[in-house]
């Protein structure tokens, strides 16, 4: 039998961005909150030796240990799902702060179109524009309704940037000025303007100057060291839950974090949850933590897995399209890229910041006419200067051998003379893209792994080709001597890194029959359970997800307080 602890107001499962934000907002209001985190504690001092590409970028220091738990993958229902034995396509964060520690800091607001994609697409192009098996949905919330929460998130994290001329309205400016512009960024800006496009400096959680946020947290400015993605920040300059919201929650005296605490079940009593069962991984002891409210704030896969294992919500059935838990798994179509090689220009490619770059949204959302196009939506186009570390950046022009004397000579020649312009393609939901529990493979405790069924569709292939050719046009205008760009997207491959922008599975909406949570991320089928994260996205936009996850977390915190006062469904 599990050892039963005294009841608390709220228990949070997973202390990353979503968990940290909710903890800070609830503890400020006097609620007693316990945060259960399956990984270890993390702090700024951990990153004394962080400029180590091998350890962090190739050996995945900050990522979940796959020997304990992974996912399984199959391209479609006809083939056998097999475990992702090694990291590839995406990286699952681990430890206090979760993926919020190793992210790049690219902080976007989705477009107004994203939130009402189904209704606006039909309104403008007619119902036949959406293929029969494309299961995109409106979010049950509009951009304007979510705007105040974006604003709160940006002020908390100190987001910098230039205003995006093609986006929704902002209630206030970015709290910090844009990061510095590199020579490559200037080149991109000039070329994009010549092409009559609308470039702007990327919104970033890498602080452009020292900043004190509304919670009173002060942080130092980014040093452009070039080690963000897959790394933690040794300066605390990157907005990360460990240096922002978590200390705020702890300072109230109302927040207790328990690391190495792996939640295995959410307990169900009637139509409510009564708490959770977790394992203290340091002792192996099974512990019950009762709570009035449970907030599930893990990564996409953990959220879906815990709901399915705990028999909460209605599992999605791809044959009938009914049910919601596991529905609308989506990703990011991140391969529509072009690479430009410059024979006479050199850039400080080694320097950078995770969210340093230029963006344009002329081919994102419905910012361009799709009448004659064989896809909907699109994606942002980015020239990023994240810091080109040497093991992972050896791009050579097409036709160059991948090893031997010519490879060496050419890769060295272009080490500081290659620039990539990429399309961050949106990812639409399809009826046969979903998450469920694998019938064969188990985690370290004998529970089934989450199974992904997913592949690219014509929508993705057509969009990626379109974006890649636009990226190539920009690089040519920038004066690159050779431009290579993606010709065919190919199948989705779980073994090659693309992005950790996995979304869906516990999607939000305004209709309980087609979504799992309401617009406050409260489970339709369980009033005192909130499920927060990118798992709530009904499909994914052409941007990095974290800004929207942050906004949704602030909204969920408000919903939790409403529930605590009034009970029932808060919408």
């Amino acid at each position: 039998m599990a050892r039963k602890l005294p009841k608390v107001d709220v228990v949070i499962i997973g202390v990353g961005w979503a968990g940290g934000i909710i903890a800070s907002e609830l503890t400020k209001k006097g609620l007693k909150v316990v945060g259960l985190e399956k990984g270890k504690e993390r702090k700024t001092e951990d990153y004394f030796m962080v400029h180590d590409e091998l350890r962090y970028a190739l050996r995945y220091e900050m990522m979940q240990d796959l020997s304990k738990e992974t996912i399984t993958f199959r391209s479609n229902e006809k083939i056998r799902a097999l475990p992702m034995r090694q990291y590839g396509s995406f990286l699952i964060g681990d430890g206090l702060g979760g993926s919020g520690v190793h992210w790049n800091g690219q902080t976007f607001r989705f477009l107004p179109y994203d939130f009402q994609i189904r209704s606006q697409t039909i309104e403008k192009y007619g119902p036949n524009k959406i293929p029969a098996d494309m299961t995109i949905q409106d979010w049950g919330i509009t951009y304007d309704e979510l705007e105040p929460y974006y604003d709160t998130f940006e002020k908390m994290a100190g987001i910098s940037g230039e205003e995006n001329p093609l986006a929704g309205k902002r209630s206030s400016k970015y709290p910090t000025p844009a990061l510095k512009k590199t020579k490559a960024m200037e080149l991109f800006t000039d070329a994009a303007k010549k092409l009559k496009l609308h470039p702007y400096v990327q919104p970033a959680a890498n602080l452009s100057e020292s900043y004190t946020n509304p919670d009173g947290i002060s942080r130092a400015a980014c040093q452009y060291c070039g080690y963000c993605e897959r790394f933690g920040c040794e300066y605390g300059a990157k907005g990360d839950p460990v240096v922002t919201v978590i200390p705020v929650a702890l300072k109230t005296g109302n927040f207790e974090i328990r690391t190495h605490s792996n939640v295995r079940r959410i307990l169900k009593t009637g139509d409510k949850t009564s708490g959770v069962i977790y394992i203290d991984e340091t002792t192996g002891e099974e512990i019950e933590q009762p709570a009035d409210i449970v907030v599930l704030t893990g990564f996409v896969f953990s959220n879906v897995k815990l709901l399915l294992l705990s028999n909460i919500g209605t599992p999605y059935d791809p044959n009938t399209g009914k049910g919601s838990v596991g529905k609308n798994y989506a990703y990011q179509v991140r391969k529509g890229n072009a690479v430009g090689f410059f024979d006479k220009k050199k850039f400080n490619n080694f320097a950078g910041a995770g969210a340093l770059g230029m963006i344009l949204d002329d081919y994102n959302g419905d910012n361009f006419d799709h009448t004659d196009l064989d896809f909907i939506h699109g994606g942002m186009i980015i020239l990023g200067q994240t810091g080109q570390r040497p093991i992972q950046n050896n791009t050579v022009p097409k036709g160059t051998p991948s090893w031997g004397p010519e490879f060496k000579k050419t890769s060295l020649k272009y080490a500081n003379s290659v620039l990539t312009v990429g399309g961050e393609g949106s990812s639409m939901a399809f009826r046969h893209h979903f998450l469920d529990l694998d019938p064969v493979y188990k985690d370290e405790y004998g529970d089934p792994l989450v199974r992904i069924t997913y592949d690219f569709e014509d929508q993705d292939r057509n969009m990626a080709k379109f974006l890649a050719s636009k990226c190539a046009d920009i690089l040519k205008e920038m004066g690159a001597d050779q431009v290579d760009y993606m010709q065919e997207l190919g199948p989705y491959d779980v073994a090659s890194y693309q992005s950790t922008h996995n979304t869906g599975g516990v999607i939000m909406g305004s209709d309980p029959s087609t979504s799992a949570v309401n617009s406050y991320l409260q489970m339709w089928e369980m009033d005192n359970l909130f499920v927060v994260g990118a798992s709530a996205f009904p499909q994914n936009a052409g941007y990095n997800p974290t800004g929207t996850v942050g906004a949704l977390a602030y909204r969920a915190a408000e919903g939790i307080l409403k529930y605590r006062d009034a009970g029932g469904q808060v919408v």
Binding site: A351, I391, A495
Partner: protein, 249 residues
């Protein structure tokens, strides 16, 4: 080629260690493994370099996993993948084979943080690696098969082949031109290629990138605390620093 490279303590300690320990007195007394090492060291010392400085004493340059033969084959392969040229040292000069040896001895060699649970099935390519073998097993088998293929085609050890012949053997692996029941030849070749780049460019802490020469060749500054003064400027060469430099702070 940079001055630093010329002075790099290549193949330092083994030769001197052996020479100084008395094992080599008469040479013949030891025979076997050490004998073959000595022969090879003599060959190495024919490249005209003078021992101008005292023994560098890099205690890291010894083997944790490989047999001497595996080490020599790995050194020869990685040098073909990333050869010495007028820009600077190749894999051998950078210590890449030591790097790989040390990696195989640890987590990476054991696939320690990867999902290695049964059942094992042959999967689709898009499902990634599905084998039951760990990297150290794959290296054991792969290096043996390189040697076998070399004997089959040229009737010589891989390390005794001419450069172009070595390339031909490697291309057969890269293109899955040979049939192996145990491992994927192209998978093994790709592993060798990635490990070579890792050894050339990871922090010298790991045993490769000797003297930071890998970084110097591509003007990569290694671990710097800040680029605030040059981030918005034209390309600038910055003297590289390794993680060791942080230990003084």
């Amino acid at each position: 080629m940079s001055e630093e490279h010329k002075e790099s303590p290549e193949s330092i300690s083994r030769r001197k260690f052996i020479r100084n320990t008395g094992f080599t007195v008469g040479g013949l007394a030891v025979g076997g493994i050490l004998g073959s090492l000595l022969t090879r060291q003599d060959k190495d010392s024919n490249n005209g370099k003078k021992d101008t400085h005292a023994e560098a004493g890099n205690f890291n340059e010894a083997l944790m996993y490989f047999t001497p033969e595996q080490f020599r084959i790995t050194e020869a392969i990685t040098e073909r993948i990333f050869p010495e040229d007028d820009l600077g040292p190749g894999a051998k000069g950078l210590g890449v084979a030591y790097y790989i040896d040390h990696q195989l001895a640890g987590d990476w060699g054991f696939n320690a943080r990867e999902y290695m649970q049964a059942p094992f099935f042959v999967g689709e390519k898009v499902q990634g690696y599905q084998g039951r073998l760990k990297r150290r097993n794959i290296f054991d088998i792969g290096l043996r098969e390189i040697q076998n293929h070399s004997m089959a085609v040229y009737k010589k050890n891989f390390t005794d082949l001419k450069g172009e012949e070595q390339d031909a053997i490697l291309k057969d692996f890269e293109g899955d031109k040979i049939q192996l029941t145990t491992i994927s030849p192209s998978g093994f070749f790709q592993m060798l290629r990635s490990a070579t780049l890792e050894g050339a460019y990871s922090d010298p802490l790991y045993g490769g990138n000797r003297n930071m020469d890998g970084w110097k060749m591509r003007k990569y500054p290694g671990s710097q605390m800040a680029y605030t003064t040059i981030i918005d400027k034209d390309f600038q060469e910055v003297k590289p620093q390794s993680l060791k430099s942080h230990m003084n702070h």
